[in-house]
Point group: C5
Chain length 354, copies 5
């Protein structure tokens, strides 16, 4: 089974809206955290049960409910009921193979994105699905594992940095999406570093391992591309103001995220071009080497095969071979051989093989 | 004749609307089944003759007529007359080489899709045409063989699971299309598994058979792609609400199918990229090996050809060869040969061939 | 001069509308046939002179004038005058290198299409230009040679099959265009058969001739593609109702032709992909074989070159070579050689060359 | 410096509208010719000074001023002042590296096109810029050298052939543009001839020179494509009626030119595909040959290396070699060798190398 | 880390609008220059502190503030406050990895472009970000280093050449952008020169170094392309009049810049095609050479291996070898060998290897 393709087949034949968790169970326990804030106050706590977050739906301030871990379907179901979410939305939250998309359900909007990390050790791209429900007074985020990607947003909330405490749910949503997209640059930089290292290796000491790595990287970039392209549409739609829940003054920030997305896509394409170019370099360097190996073989063989033949001639045991008796035969033969050798060298030099 | 291209030529020269079954006869007998249901009741039975289904056209409930087997043209003809279908629609139902498409005929809509299965045994994609007539009170489906793909829909109808019994003909149509598209994921997973297996083989023991399989898979993906792309337009048009027979509240479900279609297309493209990449890996690994083979040959030949030449020299039978008489000639020659051997090794090491 | 490019240069510098026949003269005599029909009657005859068809312009029924052979410019000129055709239209009729296109001149519409045939014998695509003038009471068709492609339409007219006698000029135009497009499937099937045969050959006995055929087919598909793509626009425009002369009820039939055109294009693209894939298969199979040839050479050479060297050593004629005198030298040497042979075999097996 | 890229850098840093002639000076003297005509009369003369053409601006008839040679900037400047042309237009006229384009300046329109010729001798495409100012009573054309491309238009003017004398400035502009585009077919035919010749050569006697020519032609087609594509937009815009100066009845003629342009583009793309295909043929034929060379070498070496080894064995000088003494050794050895030879042949035949 | 990708990751987790300088510090000190001018007067001076430029915001004339060096964030911050710029704009000014773009903020417009230079020495493209704030009375430009690219604009301002002193801020912005885009032609010419040189080298003396250079140039063109494509949208938007700050009479000048941009893109694509073509030439010339080397080896080996075998036969020491005793054996053997030699030559000639 190809990594990044998940067993969606277990859902086949089920009624739409039937909740099935698709993907691995990456965390032991579901962790629910809430941050409720407005301009003046901030309240942050871990919830024992999902029901505890329900009252926050109707508070005046902005409530951000973050859920880490998707394998307890009952949690998702209860949220769905209380916040009045469409069954298909719940299904999409649980499907970690979901393509990035944005659905506008008027009272709330549903967004799902890919969170990426790159593991330098085994040169592997890891993907995690992040879903986000944006309501007028609340934002709910769903992550597969407890990650630290939103830590900086939390920090800014606590310290009331920038406009984040005054910005409402749409600005909070922006801050969260921005955090995810910003993280793509970290991944791209890591891959960029690998490309750089590989390039040097290609020049100094190319090996089949380098080739393997090139092919591997090429593949990772295929996957990266697949997760990044749909983002363009999603954020582009928000930037064009297609989402009523996003206030106009926040749109400019989404335009910024959109620019970043375009830049991420550009960089992915550039990296793809570069890696393809490296494959060409590798192959043409192999061709070059083979050519050189062939030349050495040919030069040696072409010089010595005729000489060996001559030596063979005078190694024959015929009774009547006049040359064998002559006194100067042996030194003359050396001269002949040397002459052949010199002629050959000239020939190769004219052919530019030497 | 290329598989997947069917002998359409037998229709050439016929009047449009002339009914000819294009494709193989895949089933012995035509089977006609009807399910008539509404919120409260459900009636399911096998029909002996097509005429028995006519009364259901005007019942209040939703009637789903399913026909397995297309080779009895009279059956199709009678349906056409009773349900007032355009002759071109009947022609398209019978043409199993039909490209996926959707035609809106106001009173009814005509849809035709490809049903896919993948046979692990001979690594072959099988295709079957499924047509669907959507009226305001009835849905008629046409399959080439009696398949089990709609079994889950039937089950949900019987058990009144989800909204399927309350949803009307448009929701039923959605459920049927969804069942087909969901099945694509099963096919993609199987191909994904093959790709995975092939990749391992490519690393551990590449063989011309692997290459054959890569080429074969590449071809199957060409066909897969050809049947999946048109789906996008078809379902996209429904999702955008271009079909008056689809109620607005059902549109959201078609948006879900549309997302799945996009994901299927994405996955097909990714698999294509991966299989192309595997071809590159195979070819560059062959180049690598050839290079290595050449090196071994060259090293052996380059070392021994000159040495053999020297041995040849002293195998000559000239009468006057002073070296032959000297006492230390033989051991000195061994030393000379060893020196040549060492010099060669250094040369190859400097060239990084060893 | 590339086949399919015709000497258009002889027209350079002429006034637009100057009538010059571009293409070969493919038939000896110009043949003019007329079929005049309505719901009730049908009249069919061969005309001696073009002037005889003029009265039919204003009859109530539908008149179909068919002209086979384009080299008698005066015929075209007279038609142009009587039916009031634009000089550029006449120019296009005579230019058999014309790209498929449709021009709406309000009182009449001008269509030009490519008629294709495939010659299995020399694997060559043959192209013929077919032009069609659609008026409200007449249809005029121009063919390069007397072909049998419209025979089925004539037959249906005579037998009053389907709606063809009641359909007016637009339905007649549809029937003629449909006949042309349907014929494409015949060509595609023939090419499909060739592809199939070639594939088998590629597996069982690949030869440079197969390669030649692949390249040839690839080229024929380039030409096929070039003539088929513009068709899409032409028929698409009619289907969208851009031509006032086509009644709305006929539009649905053009939608059917449009679907066929798309399918033709799809199939051409698929065949192109397949032929490209076959080229890859051929080239990688050559690489495979070369690799294998190299291995055999290397194994033989690597085993025997050192052994021959050893034999050479003991073929030397030095006076003082102690081994030569020993009693067990010869059998020991055989043992040594056998040991080298075995070591080599192990080495090759470890390298997976055997 | 790549041919077709001209030293635009000498303009860098200058004020826009500063007149600098970019390109080579291809003609010695600037030649100015005027043809003033209407339905009834025609006046044609060579002008000594540019000022002489100024009165024609306001005559009732149509005036066509043709200027051959761009290097005398003062001429261009004076025309600009008198005919009230925008400085940027003058700049573009002088820049022979200008991309084909059309600018509508309300009172006049500015068009610039590429005039192409193909030199069979050195297989080189030559490009020349042709600019055209279209006013309501005058047309001004600028050419780099005195060419004969407009000779046919002049001839038609003189002989009052077709509608050219009655057509006004827009029809004259059409006739001139048509003359240029028609000439493209001449160039394409010449290249087509070369392609044809090359193809034959490729089959009968492929050589590195053929390869060079293929690469050369490929490059020429890149340039051809670069100059032809923008034409599509330019003439397409006129055909769609975006230029107020073109009367509606003339539009149909531009539609004809547009069709020709599309056909030119189609042909260029087809030629590109064909030339790429030829490269593939060449490379695969080289692979084929290399494979064959390798086979011959391998067969010879694999047969004789073991035999030579055996001969070497019995050339050794050991004192105690029993076989040497036996009477039938020599004939038996010949039989053994022949057996090895036969076995080898069978092996190669089974491998299909023979 | 790949050149052209800058460490954006240091911004990850920061609040949007937090000012961080991304890129290298390329200059020691920030230099601030102002030119204030109108039709009548011009004032030009270097400012010690950024505050000195504030009064110019409200002068009647046009003020152009140029800032070289981005590393002093306080300078950017103060400008931002005084000129009322959005924090995201300031962030983009400081991010030298920014993609070319244009943002309309109603009171002012923000543009950012890439300034390119090409270093012939190390064949490297250098990139610098240039940002531009266009207000109704002021233009502010930000450069990474003190460059001479705007020198010509300054000169024209001083000398009141052309319409630059009368044109207002929008014309000034045009002049500045035009200066940047014009400079691209200089870069393209330099690359064009390299391509030309490389081509000659490829024909006269191809070497792995040429290959390296081809790959290098291919990569530089990837980067060039990446920076040039977005320009098209940016300037296209201005040309279409989407920016209210640009007066209509200035739009025509932007159309000119737009044409240049298209031409730059065209040229980049053509250069890419050419460099790709060169890679093909190199690889096919290597194939050719390898083929030739193989032929020489095969000819020599195929001729001499059988001859050596024959010599080996008669070097054997069997007691009973009748040929050894015959008187004419030796000369006959020479004749036999010569015959074999001649036959081989004929064979090779028939195979066209000689």
């Amino acid at each position: 089974m190809v990594r990044f393709m998940k067993r969606v087949s277990k859902k086949v034949g089920l009624s739409p809206g039937t909740l099935v968790h698709i993907g691995e169970k990456k965390t032991e326990q579901v962790r629910i955290r809430i941050i409720d804030f407005d301009d003046q106050h901030i309240e942050e706590r871990d919830l024992g049960a999902i029901e505890e977050c329900f009252p926050y739906k109707d508070t005046l301030g902005t409530s951000w409910i973050n859920i880490d871990g998707l394998h307890e379907i009952s949690v998702i179901e209860k949220i769905g009921q209380h916040f009045n979410l469409h069954p298909l939305v719940l299904e999409d939250i649980l499907n970690t193979d979901q393509r990035p998309k944005m659905d506008d359900h008027e009272e709330y909007a549903f967004l799902t994105l890919k969170m990426l990390t790159y593991d330098d050790g085994d040169h592997q791209l890891k993907m995690e699905n992040v879903s986000l429900i944006l309501g007028s007074t609340f934002v709910i985020t769903f992550q597969e594992v407890e990650g630290d990607i939103f830590a900086s947003v939390r920090e800014r909330l606590r310290k009331a940095k920038g406009r984040i405490r005054k910005g409402g749910t749409d600005y909070l949503a922006y801050a969260l999406i921005d955090a995810i997209v910003d993280h793509y640059f970290v991944v791209l930089e890591k891959i960029g570093d690998e490309v750089e290292t590989m390039e040097e290796e290609l020049v100094t000491r190319p090996s089949p391992e380098t080739l393997q790595l090139i092919h591997h990287l090429k593949r990772e970039l295929i996957f990266l591309r697949k997760s990044v392209w749909p983002l363009r549409e999603v954020i582009g739609a928000i930037e064009r103001g297609e989402l009523a829940l996003i206030q106009e003054k926040t749109t400019i920030f989404f335009r910024d995220v959109y620019d970043h997305t375009i830049q991420v896509i550009d960089t992915v394409e550039t990296l793809r071009d570069m890696v393809s170019g490296m494959l060409d370099i590798y192959l043409s360097s192999i061709s070059n080497r083979m050519n050189e190996v062939m030349k050495v073989l040919t030069i040696i063989a072409t010089i010595f095969i005729p000489l060996t033949f001559i030596a063979g001639i005078y190694g024959m045991n015929f009774k009547y071979m006049p040359e064998l008796e002559w006194h100067w035969s042996y030194p003359l033969l050396w001269i002949l051989m040397f002459a052949i050798f010199v002629v050959m060298l000239f020939y190769f030099r004219r052919k530019k093989w030497l």
